[in-house]
């Protein structure tokens, strides 16, 4: 267990979040820095201090901001983002920034994506960076922005100012059951993920589930040429016509621990397609092609599963490569959303080493795919994605998912 006090070198962090209430992302993430958490077989206390907290929305019942500040005297509640970063000194006074833009109450965009303030937070934070002539590592939970231009700009500015920038979904870093990794440099022609939840939200998790795996393929990431969204009857038509591989769907579902039985007297039986139709009222598929020919499909099949699974055809493997990205979900199954543990642990590593633990271009691509998925749906047709063909990057060879 790490000692509580070591030296004056402990990084000081600012947290900039939407709302601090029970079971919201800010609570899961910032609490781990404040209270410690179980990882690697010990109750671990991060060797860094969250010294300031900006909470965008403190209205309504259940705000935990004051309670946390009362128990953690080093934590200062700030009324502006600038104050949280400068601590009244007039210039950047922290060694890292934790941004959680998920949750809170924000209106939907014209295409229906919740307009979470990732970009607005980013603008204010990087203004302090610019004004101070200094930048520090930046953790951004989940997607970059609901707006593609802003997402792109965030990555560009991080390169311009030269600060480590890391984010994305916990799906990319959580336990895998089984604990396997996509072989680096392998060739794959098709991949699927199956998850649950709705568009503009859990689709991001499904997209990250795929991307953290397929980015390791031969040649690295080449970008995405086009995307088509299928919903409702179109989804089932495409399913039956084999637009995406039914064999891969079966392989992925064979990794699910929550596959609902289509027959009320069985508890674990593979459903027929007719039973799937009855169980899944709002199916969604984002079907897209990468520039090197890889085809991927992100499926949301809420009503039938409550977990995220992945399957791909990998050249040279006799059967589908598959796993579950396991979320110990506190919806009755657990009490602790432990999938935030590897997200925070990787963020800690970034704050300590000054190096991102996985490429932010992954998150840029998945943010863009989410927006394209919603756009394709609203336009009712396949859309070309030239802006996503430009997202090319190489994976980090070392795996960053939770396995110890």
């Amino acid at each position: 267990m790490a000692p509580k006090e070591t030296s004056t070198k402990r990084p000081r962090l600012a947290a900039v979040v939407t709302a601090y209430k029970r079971m919201l992302h800010p609570q899961h993430i910032v609490d781990r820095f404040l209270e410690g958490y179980g990882v690697n077989g010990v109750f671990h206390h991060p060797e860094m201090d969250v010294v300031s907290l900006y909470v965008d929305q403190r209205t309504g019942e259940g705000d935990l901001t004051q309670e946390r500040a009362d128990r953690h005297p080093q934590l200062k509640i700030c009324s502006t983002i600038s104050e949280a970063l400068t601590l009244g000194t007039g210039k950047l006074a922290v060694d890292g920034v934790i941004v959680v833009g998920e949750h809170g109450t924000y209106p939907p965009s014209p295409t229906g994506i919740p307009m979470h303030p990732h970009y607005e937070f980013f603008e204010q934070i990087t203004k302090v960076f610019r004004d101070s002539g200094r930048s520090v590592p930046y953790f951004n939970d989940k997607e970059l922005s609901w707006n593609w231009d802003w997402s792109k700009k965030m990555v560009d500015i991080s390169h311009e100012l030269g600060f480590p920038f890391q984010g994305g979904s916990s799906l990319a870093v959580t336990w895998r059951v089984p604990s396997v990794e996509f072989p680096l440099g392998a060739t794959a022609n098709e991949a699927v993920s199956i998850g649950y939840g709705g568009m503009g939200s859990y689709d991001f998790h499904g997209l990250e589930t795929i991307q953290c795996m397929v980015e390791r393929r031969k040649g690295g990431e080449t970008g995405v040429e086009w995307l088509q969204t299928y919903r409702g009857d179109n989804f089932w038509k495409a399913y039956q016509e084999g637009v995406w591989s039914q064999a891969l769907v079966k392989a992925a579902l064979s990794r699910s621990a929550t596959l609902r039985s289509g027959n009320s007297t069985f508890t674990n039986i593979f459903p027929t397609i007719e039973q799937m139709k009855a169980m899944v009222p709002n199916p969604v598929a984002y079907h897209y092609q990468h520039r090197d020919g890889l085809r991927c499909t992100m499926l949301l099949m809420g009503g039938m599963v409550r977990d995220f699974t992945f399957a791909a055809n990998i050249e040279g493997q006799s059967k589908a490569f598959s796993t579950q990205m396991y979320l110990p979900m506190p919806d009755g199954r657990t009490t602790l959303a432990s999938f935030f543990t590897p997200l925070v642990y990787n963020a800690e590593k970034m704050f300590l080493t000054g190096k991102a633990q996985y490429p932010v271009e992954r998150t840029l691509l998945t943010s863009g795919l989410l927006i394209a998925g919603v756009d394709s749906d609203s336009q009712g047709k396949r859309i070309e994605t030239p802006h996503l063909t430009a997202v090319n990057y190489q994976p980090y060879p070392e795996s960053s998912y939770w396995r110890s």
């Binding site: 010990v42 109750f43 336990w175 089984p178 990794r255 508890t267 396991y326 939770w402 396995r403």
Partner: protein, 481 residues
């Protein structure tokens, strides 16, 4: 014992049935040369969510395994469900119904050719066809599913165990046996043990095996018996009759978070396991999971020399005195995804081993203290109120602390039992158990000894009877692929 007497009666009944030609009809005639393995399933209760339903169904509809929906090369040919027979037995006989004027049998309706007298000869034996048939969609959550499954999968519902093995013929007509005996309404003894009739099920099978000089692989879910001497007898019988006997629960073979095991042949100084549930049932699963890791220590398993079951404040005092390691407890709890208390209240992470928290959360703590013959110590802490999952931590010389969670997947799927089904199927196919039955035997004995300790006011008990030695399988047997 109540259950034992009941079984003797069934045996007598089965002989009577064998003599009664018309009631018998073999469902199997010619078999193709490469036929699927024929399976007899024996259990207590086939109800949605019962262990029998969860496990047995997998041999009918397949199960998730190794990245595929695996369909076993197995055909279920017969099913015996103890509850059905006991219910049928408890029902008024046709004679009693006729006397009470409640019998609705067609041959008692007004009309020509009233046969009358034959009715009472059939006594408590209610042929399955007379049990009301419900279309599956009308079955309630507590309904017996045997009838529906038998219909759907075309197997024979049997009135007793020998019949299930012989499928209505006069010779064993199955290639393997699956038994899942679980609590339905079996009585308890004064030590709180449920008198589950695993031994009786086994003995009935063994009698048939012995009589016919032909034995088949046998799986027994969870403990072998509530009694260690019966369990020993089962293992000896299987050795004598030379058939594969495998026993145990899902916990040793399910996924682990992280995917890790005790290094084979390493010296283990101490282990602490944390779990929840009843002393008897979940106590077995947790002890067995602990055992499947500890048996890999240097020298293999050499047995247990003493046990003690502590309760209440004595559990915490034992921790203060160093009888179990607080570091290992902290490590085991760090693997839990289900801390209660403040996590439940406002979502925060918390170190449950901070002073005062566990005694506040756990009203009735229990520690199963196990002293192995070779000096290794292990403690299972049942912490109802603090967590809801099963985690272990062990101090291993040269490897530091090894800790993991036994991933018990959520209901209703309980895919952890698919991991077990895969091991059972492997045993049936290769006629050899992937891990020794001595693991379940020793665990059965540890549990019985701990409950004896509880009964004797938590005394430490020497356990010379638990000198059970065995070598672990060379490869880890939990789910990894």
């Amino acid at each position: 014992m109540l259950t034992r007497r009941r079984f003797v009666r069934y045996s007598a009944l089965s002989s009577a049935l064998l003599a009664n030609g018309p009631l018998l009809c073999s469902t199997f005639g010619q078999m193709p040369t490469k036929r699927p393995l024929r399976l007899a399933i024996l259990g207590s209760v086939y109800r949605l969510g019962s262990a029998l339903q969860t496990i047995a169904d997998r041999f009918m509809v397949g199960y998730p395994h190794d990245g595929e929906w695996h369909m076993p090369e197995v055909q279920v040919v017969s099913l015996y469900v103890d509850q059905r027979i006991r219910k049928a037995e408890a029902r008024p006989t046709e004679f009693q119904q006729a006397m009470a004027g409640t019998l609705k049998a067609p041959w008692l309706q007004a009309g020509p050719g009233l046969p009358g007298a034959q009715g009472s000869r059939r006594a408590a034996v209610v042929p399955p066809s007379e049990v009301a048939q419900h279309p599956p969609e009308e079955l309630g959550p507590m309904s017996d599913l045997s009838e529906s499954r038998a219909h759907q999968f075309g197997f024979r519902l049997c009135r007793n165990i020998p019949e299930a093995l012989r499928c209505g013929g006069n010779r064993i007509a199955v290639d393997a046996v699956l038994t899942v005996v679980e609590q339905d309404d079996y009585p308890r003894n004064d030590r709180g043990q449920i008198l589950l009739p695993q031994y009786d099920f086994f003995q009935q099978c063994a009698q048939v095996f012995e009589a016919e000089k032909h034995a088949v692989p046998y799986f027994n879910h969870k403990q072998l018996s509530f009694s260690f001497s019966e369990a020993q007898n089962m293992v000896k019988t299987a050795e004598r009759l030379k058939f594969s006997l495998m026993a145990g629960s899902s916990m040793p073979v399910t996924w682990r978070l992280p995917d890790t095991d005790i290094p084979m042949g390493a010296r283990v100084q101490e282990a602490v396991m944390v779990g929840v549930g009843s002393l008897d049932s979940m106590g077995f699963d947790a002890l067995e999971a602990m055992q499947c890791m500890l048996e890999r220590r240097k020298g293999g398993e050499s047995g247990v020399k003493a046990v003690q079951l502590l309760e209440g404040d004595d559990v915490w005092v034992a921790g203060d005195e160093g009888r179990w390691s607080k570091d290992l407890l902290s490590s085991a709890l760090s693997r839990s995804d289900t801390p209660l208390g403040l996590t439940w209240l406002d979502g925060r992470t918390q170190d449950l081993t901070a002073p005062g928290i566990l005694p506040q959360l756990v009203k009735d703590p229990v520690a199963y203290c196990i002293e192995y013959t070779d000096g290794t110590r292990a403690t299972l802490l049942m912490l109802n109120g603090a967590i809801r999952d099963f985690n272990i931590s062990a101090r291993v010389t040269g490897h530091g602390i090894v800790s993991t969670q036994f991933f018990m997947t959520p209901a209703p799927n309980e895919t952890h039992s698919a991991c077990l089904a895969a091991k059972i199927e492997q045993m049936y196919q290769i006629r050899s158990a992937p891990y020794p039955v001595q693991r379940a035997l020793l665990t059965t004995g540890m549990l019985e000894a701990c409950l004896n300790s509880k009964h004797r006011l938590n005394q430490r008990l020497e356990t010379p009877q638990l000198a059970v030695s065995y070598q672990p399988p060379a490869e880890s047997q939990y789910a990894r692929t």
